[in-house]
Amino acid sequence: MRPSVLRSVVAVSALGLTLAACSSIDSSAGGQAAATTAAGGAKAGGTLVVALSDEPDPLDPTTARTLVGRSVFTSICEKLYDIDAKLTIVPQLAAALPQISADGRTVTIKVRSGVKFADGTALDAAAVKTSLDRDLTLPTSARKSDLASVQEVTVTDPATVVLHLRAPFAPLLAQLADRAGMVMSPAALKSEGENFGAKPVCVGPYKFQSRVAQDHIDVVKDPNYYDAGNVKLDKVSYKIIADSTTRFNNLRSGDVQVLDTVAPTDVDALQADPKLSLLTSDSLGYQGITVNLGNADGIGKPAAALPAKLASPMATDPRVRHAFELSLDRDAINKVVFQGKFAAACGPISPDSPFSSDDAQACPQHDPGQAKQLLQQAGVRTPFRIDMIVANTPIGTRLGQAIQAQVKDGGFDLRLVPTEFASSLDQTDAGNYQMFQVGWSGRVDPDGNISNFVSTEGSQNNNGYTNPAVDKLISQSQSTSDNDARARLFGQVISQLHKDLPIIYLYRVKNFTGVARTVVGVQMYGDGLMRFKNAGFAG
């Protein structure tokens, strides 16, 4: 076995990532992958109050599922790898990027030395194995699919852990840069068991202090942290404020200093306020319309013809789906619904991703005339009636209405079915829908935006889409670690998706974070997560 460093992933030091010190809105196609408030000059001490838009689930890296939970984890649970401002993967608790065997099935990870958990116990290869084994075996683990390629984890010496894979799997590194790569204290796992999430103990600039449901999560500076000398704040208090107006008002009043999700409608007001600054980064995810092509019996079941009440040429004739897409004016949707603050999107990969390509960003022009012609060719009677589930929120309804008005010009009679989120997931999993407006928060490795949704066996393929050519391309992209080759393969997948249209991609949100100007050193990357390791109050 000849180990070779994974050269395709270029490491860029995570320090000094102040490349995007600007925090202006960028609505151009290129966008920006990261933003930071001015760095340096932070004085020691103080409590930073951060408003979160939702209540995180248990703070257990093995079972955690929410995006807001990931925000809190950036403070208390570091990972084997992290991303940097350019969305490349860099070591965090690992000493270096992993060594991968020639056959791609053995991944050797060196663990950083001299690292202690928040409870004072040492982090070593055995601790990494304990966490990975838990991720692989705990019945309620949400990491099983992330680590599905891992067959066994072994420890060769106190600083080396080896992952034995069933087959080469390039996206694994990105998974280890997310919750699957978080290392939990074995001592705390032993004492807390399944309730670890109520009192999490990991490695991070801060350690968990307390949590009151629906109110706050407090984390305090961890003296055991390996880089504690550079941590300025005494405490970060995450306050849960669901309503966007209330959240914004709290930022303006100074009751909170950082706001994780600024609504597009509040962006102008925030920029006009001299006491506040705005951090912007492009999301790695997307929003789109999932079309039910063959999910007749529920997710995970073989694709089949839809029952009579749902069956329509929309599911069976790609020309009808193309007509629907040509009726859409994505830029107008962005302007009308989001004040032009987001970006139109026609595919699952962010233009900032190193895996993006011309094929991945190809986008048809708005052409309702051609849409009508296509409907005529398909032999359907206009106006063509079709139902779409939308979120029963003000934004969801507004988006639905904008789409409804546009596709009318193309010959469609779109009926909106506003549905509460949990119920809509139930309905669409069961296959009880025609179209569904939904999004995905996005992953660093585009595989996380594609394979689960459009491969035949994909765990979230709720549209019953199946195409052996796409399955093959996805499989090839997973087994090579050559990034250029992967980018090409992703481009080919997306070209095929543009022909079949199981998902009609609409737009890509931007992550807007509001920060009081008294606070410096807050970092935000394309993953939309705020990092407070170097944050502090201006001196």
Binding site: E55, R65, R211, Q214, I241, T246, N249
Partner: protein, 318 residues
């Protein structure tokens, strides 16, 4: 006494069991799988099955119910499926917040309502009555969420004298607690203040026309003594009854106020629990509420029997 007490106790137990069954079946009849609500965008059928298993949702409903009641009798209300925190702890944190807010709101309502009502009654057909009536009408017709948002914009942003959100326990820091709860209490109490004002005004007008007030005036008592010492004192019986009846309404009305001012209270707890299909939390909250209502009703029934012996002899008040 026993012949009266035992059936009342049995009644309470039956009511309690019925409430828990209705709630248990009710939350399960909500559309939306709690496992799906919990798993969010990331879920595979295997993970959903594992979540259902971990919360016992794969068991038949009667088994789930008996297990729940068994645990509840031991004081264990389970863990929230959303946060993983013990339900009893969350309720323990939320209940004092809402109670404190409700009591404060009543105090605000009584102060404003009684004051304005007295002025309106004493200075009838003058500018004072007109002003008091206008304030009452405004208090009744302005939605609390709007009033709350305006309050924040004015008193927390434009003139930052009060905090925009948050809760501080009265036991931890009474002054900060007062500052944090003042705006929410005024917003929540404004509607009630209007009701109190109208009731006080009509009761006062009636009282001011009675013989004992005329007698008091004839005896040479000052205007203030007549109004405060005689007329108001008698009018307060009606007002107190109204305020008491409104307490339950205030606690449910607190839901909106708690959202605007980010108070971690009971209302916010149950609303969030319903949206995330957090069965253990919904059940816990309803269980505690039902226990409180049943307990208070039982206590009132017992007090009736102490106050009026005919209740326990005949079973009904004649």
């Amino acid at each position: 006494m026993g012949r009266y007490l035992i059936p009342r106790l049995l009644e309470s137990v039956v009511t309690f069991v019925l409430v828990t069954i209705v709630v248990f079946i009710g939350v399960r009849a909500l559309p939306g799988d709690p496992a799906r609500a919990l798993a969010g965008e990331e879920s595979t059928p295997e993970q959903l099955a594992a979540i259902r298993h971990s919360f016992g949702l794969d068991q038949p409903v009667p088994v789930q119910y008996l297990r729940y009641v068994g645990n509840a009798l031991h004081g264990d209300l389970g863990r929230s499926s959303r946060t993983g925190l013990p339900v009893a702890d969350s309720i323990g944190h939320a209940l004092p917040v809402t109670l404190q807010l409700a009591v404060f709101a009543i105090a605000v309502a009584a102060l404003i309502g009684v004051g304005a009502g007295v002025v309106a009654a004493v200075r009838r057909r003058g500018p004072a009555e007109w002003a008091a009536n206008s304030v009452a009408l405004l208090g009744l017709s302005v939605p609390s969420f709007w009033l709350g948002l305006m309050g924040v914009l004015v008193f927390a942003i434009a003139y930052p004298v009060l905090p925009a959100s948050g809760y501080v326990s009265v036991f931890a820091d009474p002054y900060e607690s007062f500052r944090h709860l003042l705006m929410p209490a005024v917003v929540l109490g404004s509607g009630l203040a209007a009701v109190v004002m109208r009731q006080t005004r009509s009761a006062m007008i009636e009282a001011l026309g009675t013989d004992y007030v005329r007698t008091a005036k004839a005896k040479g008592l000052s205007g203030g003594q007549v109004v405060i010492g005689h007329a108001l004192r008698n009018s307060l019986i009606v007002v107190t009854t109204i305020v008491g009846l409104q307490l339950g309404g205030l606690i449910s009305g607190a839901v909106v106020t708690e959202q605007i001012f980010v108070l971690p209270g009971f209302g916010k707890l149950i609303i969030d629990a319903v949206f995330t299909r957090d069965y253990p939390m919904i059940q816990g909250v309803v269980l505690v509420t039902a226990t409180a209502y049943i307990g208070i009703n039982l206590l009132v029934d017992l007090l009736y029997s102490v106050i009026d012996p005919r209740v326990r002899v005949g079973g009904t008040v004649l």
